[in-house]
């Protein structure tokens, strides 16, 4: 850069300074280009993704959950639309006036609504905040009329779980709830989003994967304020699959009706294949309250209820089987040749073993009885005399053959395995050695014996069907939204119980006498024209040193549990039923009446039985009740 005029007024040093500055500026621009290269070429992909993330929001479209149906397709659980009023804050123009107007319109407190909004304010502004859930038609129409004045407010229709029969079978179907952050971290729930609901118990939990379906996805382009600019549905949601249970709708309803006011469980099963026909547990709860997250108050009231409404007592509860265990004891004694069916053994009101005295439930018992009579009248002392001759491990072996003390494998969560004592197990579990007297208690289903109703039912089913033990199951098929059968469950034969037919037949005869002989303990459960067989049981809650059991003066929770488990008809059995009536006011005989009603209903449906014609309004059962003159003051274990 030379110029012939550069001497004119300008110094050489000044020109050098200009050159210096030019170099500095050139270097600075070069640094800028290097920086741009770094940002755009080296890290361009990274920043590109950040820019896209900035501007897109993914909204998950929750797939409607599948329905739970009876075997014939009657709906137990489905979805319904709940209308909620929601607001998108970024669309509200004048917050204060609009919220005040809304509060006045809906007769809500302005402060409370503001509080609700505040609580959700960490959400991005395009995310709707639900102000009112499950509004009534009246509120809906009021809102619609004034919609124009409420910019940013809208009706959001959200599918929620619907239970047409309320509490009926709630523990079996289970409840759903918003997925927790802990659950989201689990591997098996990798397909869930934070806004999903999830099956927490029962079938909802066990078949969660099928019921859930596949969530869809909507991508929203938003600006920096979070205002949606446009959106694209990327993935449509796929509805969850429907679950067809094996439950018989009318039987299920009847079972719940009969048990509603009691604490306990009823299960009915087809003894020839393990198909569950009915299953209820009471008291029950309303699963609806869980579906949107249960309030602490409600949760506390459910969890602190000592009748445990959340527990499925049919499978999650193991307790002493009481006299229903005598069928097992009989099979063991017969197989071990300790007795023959017709052999008569003297059975008095008490039985002495060393210094200990064991009582018979009926203090007037004083005769020789054979096995049939002993089962029919539930003679405790008869079994005590077997008890002194049988080893506890031998007894446990037969109980285990029948599936007692192990999980049945039913397709429901949290099954209780129960406990059948052997010397070793008792030592392991209770650090106690085995006393001979304990065998006497065990043989009448007390002391350490713990079984769940479903185990007892499957054991009696095996007796009824000639020795085959089946896995019970409650879901027959799972059908996708487009009718494709995703899963079909077949009866599963577990094993042959390996007991001779003649012994089974002998015990069955005894069981039939329980109901059909006038001296039986469940005469009130007699069904005209059908051989209904079964066994009553009464299980003590606390061991009593006294022999008089006064039902009126004992706290409810210490009252005995009443059992009945049975099947019908004797030959070619179609149904087996277990009834557990906990802390019952009336004992085993009453549980038998519940079982009887269920059996009658089922056989009637199958066309195998007709109710007596002569009484049109009154039911024949009334007659049965007058026959049962059960002395309520007697300590019973029949």
């Amino acid at each position: 850069m030379s110029s012939q005029y550069n001497e004119n007024g300008i110094l050489k040093g000044q020109k050098n300074r200009i050159n210096l500055l030019a170099v500095i500026v050139t270097v600075l621009l070069a640094i800028l280009i290097v920086r741009l290269f770094y940002l755009q070429i080296v890290k361009g992909g990274y920043y590109y993704k950040l820019a896209k993330d900035n501007a897109t929001r993914v909204i998950y479209l929750t797939a409607p959950r599948g329905d739970i149906l009876s075997r014939s397709g009657k709906i137990f659980v489905d979805n319904e639309s709940s209308f909620n009023i929601a607001v998108i804050l970024s669309r509200v123009q004048k917050r204060k006036t609009e919220f005040k107007f809304f509060a006045r319109l809906m007769h809500k407190s302005y402060a409370k609504i503001l509080q609700k909004v505040k609580k959700e304010e960490f959400l991005p502004p395009y995310e709707p905040i639900i102000l009112m859930r499950n509004i009534s038609i009246k509120e809906l129409s009021k809102f619609e009329v004034n919609k124009l004045f409420l910019r940013g407010f809208f009706i959001a229709s959200i599918p929620i779980r619907h239970y047409p029969y309320g509490k009926m079978g709630a523990q079996i179907f289970g409840y759903v709830g918003p997925v927790s952050s802990a659950e989201l971290k689990e591997k098996k729930y990798a397909y869930l989003n934070s806004s999903d609901i999830i099956g927490e118990t029962g079938l909802e939990y066990y078949y969660q994967k099928y019921l859930h379906g596949k969530d869809g996805e909507k991508r929203i382009v938003v600006n920096s304020k979070g205002e949606p600019i446009g959106n694209v549905v990327v993935k449509k949601p796929v509805m969850g699959a429907n679950i067809y249970t094996t439950l018989d709708f009318s039987l299920q309803k009847l079972a719940y009706k009969l048990m509603k006011k009691r604490e306990g469980a009823v299960i009915a099963v087809n003894p020839n294949n393990g198909i569950i026909l009915a299953m209820v547990s009471t008291p029950s709860f309303n699963p609806f309250y869980f579906s949107e997250g249960i309030s602490t108050k409600r949760w506390d009231s459910i969890i602190n209820n000592d009748e445990h409404p959340l527990q499925n007592k049919g499978i999650q509860n193991a307790l002493a089987p009481g006299s229903t265990f005598k069928a097992v004891a009989s099979l063991a004694a017969l197989s071990l040749h300790l007795i023959t069916p017709k052999e008569k053994i003297y059975s008095g009101p008490t039985f002495k073993l060393g210094d200990a005295v064991f009582y018979n439930w009926n203090p007037y018992q004083n005769s020789k009885v054979n096995l049939y009579r002993a089962i029919a009248e539930s003679v405790d002392t008869y079994f005590y005399s077997i008890g002194v001759r049988i080893g506890i491990d031998q007894l446990a072996d037969y109980a285990r053959r029948l599936g007692l003390g192990e999980k049945t494998g039913i397709d429901l969560p949290d099954e209780n395995p129960g406990f059948i004592p052997t010397k070793r197990l008792v030592y392991q579990r209770y650090h106690s050695r085995w006393y001979k007297g304990s065998t006497l208690s065990a043989i009448i289903g007390q002391s350490y014996d713990l079984v769940s109703p479903i185990q007892l039912l499957m054991a009696y089913s095996a007796i009824a069907n000639g020795g085959k033990l089946y896995r019970p199951f409650i879901v027959q098929k799972i059908v996708s939204w487009n009718g494709k059968v995703l899963k079909e469950l077949k009866p599963k034969f577990i094993r042959n119980i390996n007991i001779k037919q003649k012994y089974l037949n002998a015990v069955k005869k005894g069981l039939c006498d329980v109901v059909n002989k006038d001296y039986g303990t469940a005469v009130n459960a007699r069904i005209k024209g059908i051989e209904f067989c079964g066994k009553t049981g009464t299980a003590q809650i606390i061991s009593k040193t006294y022999s008089i059991y006064d039902i009126k003066n004992i706290p409810r929770k210490y009252r005995d549990n009443a059992w009945f488990v049975g099947f019908a008809p004797l030959h070619d059995p179609k149904i087996a039923v277990v009834v557990l009536d906990m802390h019952a006011k009336f004992l085993g005989a009453n549980a038998a009446v519940i079982a009887k009603k269920i059996v009658e209903k089922y056989l009637e449906q199958k066309g195998l039985w007709k109710p007596p014609l002569h009484k049109k309004t009154g039911k024949s059962k009334k007659g049965g009740k007058s026959k049962s003159k059960l002395p309520s003051f007697i300590y019973t274990s029949f």
Partner: protein, 370 residues
């Protein structure tokens, strides 16, 4: 007319002139491309206003070119004094209304007198240094008056408060002192003062000013707060990659993630739309303007032209480099527009005037030989 004089026309720096016009037109197009999606309209007020400002500043440029810069230097103290009064008035008005005190509203447009001070200052200093020429370099004593001339507007502007502009005015003043010549010993003393004054100044800063500097050092620390601007700007620049997202597709600006997207961060919106390639072209245009500017200053015949041109070039160069550096995270965020490119009338007028001064000097470099 003198402008049509063939000698003037021959020496007129057309390259620089067209580069400036090209940058300005690109700026208007880019402004249109960076509008928010929901008001993308050709007659958008931003675009229309900028076109009007372009026309106004083009006219001012024309006026400046036609008047001999020596005549303008003669009036330097009046220009300086007038703008100083202007700034004081704005400041007082702000004091009274407790409002923002940078702007003067002119109906549809508003104006920032502190920006104009840059022009006023280079005229005043050019006049002073040519009036009291010192070929051996000024001592500190000789610089008392020029420093007073610099420091009065700097303090007033800093009081507005507009620290960014104040600092730039200070730098421009220093550049002119540097070009006029300063003794090495005096330079050392000044550097010493700067070292002491820097930390002292830190305690005088307003908290948002402090945070801007801290955030520059650690932007991720305050992602949604003060660090937000710089992070969003870097995202916009980086997202452009090599070829850019395309005209009008800069999501950072169209979806308003980028603050001050029309003014301070207009460069980032350009970079997202046109990528590294577009960036090279734009930087090349600035390089042309600046290098032509250096050439003009270098060839300037008299000290007046040399100093005035140096100051004018300083305005453009400082603006361009500080703005681009700040958008890519090489400098803290200061409110400095990108010359000819950012939305905003005052800065366009100031930068166009600076360019016009340079063109004026280039055109008249043979004047006295005719």
């Amino acid at each position: 007319m003198k402008i049509l004089n063939s000698q003037y026309a021959k020496n007129f720096d057309f390259i620089m002139f067209f580069a400036v016009i090209l940058i300005s037109v690109t700026g208007i197009i880019n402004l249109y491309g960076s509008l928010s999606v929901h008001h993308k309209d050709f007659f958008d007020p931003y675009v229309i206003k900028q076109i009007i400002w372009f026309a106004i500043s083009f006219f001012i440029m024309f006026v400046i070119i036609t008047i001999d810069y020596n005549t303008l230097i003669e009036a330097a103290y009046y220009i300086y004094g007038f703008i100083l009064i202007f700034i004081t008035a704005v400041l007082l008005k702000g004091r009274i209304t407790h409002g923002a005190s940078r702007w003067i509203s002119l109906g549809m447009f508003s104006f920032q007198p502190s920006e104009l001070m840059k022009i006023g200052l280079i005229f005043a200093l050019a006049k002073y240094f040519t009036s009291y020429e010192n070929k051996k370099g000024y001592s500190l004593k000789g610089l008392i008056i020029p420093f007073t001339v610099i420091i009065i507007p700097v303090l007033l502007i800093a009081k507005e408060p507009d620290l960014g502009t104040a600092l730039i005015v200070l730098f421009i003043g220093f550049i002119m002192v540097f070009l006029a010549g300063i003794k090495k010993s005096s330079m050392a003393v000044l550097a010493g003062i700067a070292l002491v004054a820097g930390p002292l100044l830190w305690f005088r800063l307003k908290s948002y000013q402090k945070s801007r500097i801290l955030i520059f050092l650690h932007p991720a620390k305050d992602y949604l707060g003060a660090g937000y601007n710089i992070i969003q700007s870097e995202i916009a620049v980086g997202a452009g990659r090599f070829f850019g997202d395309g005209f009008g597709n800069g999501s950072q600006s169209t979806l308003d993630f980028l603050p001050a997207k029309h003014t301070d961060f207009i460069f980032s919106t350009f970079m997202q739309q046109f990528g590294f390639l577009g960036g090279l072209v734009l930087i090349a245009l600035y390089f042309i303007v600046i290098i032509r500017g250096f050439k003009i200053v270098y060839r300037a015949k008299k000290l007046q032209g040399f100093l005035l041109g140096g100051g004018a070039l300083g305005i453009i160069t400082f603006h361009a480099i500080i703005n681009m550096y700040m958008t890519v995270g090489l400098l803290p965020v200061v409110g400095v527009p990108l010359p000819f490119f950012s939305y905003g009338g005052t800065s366009l007028v100031v930068d166009m005037s600076a360019a016009a001064i340079l063109l004026n000097i280039s055109m008249r470099r043979y004047k006295f030989q005719l």
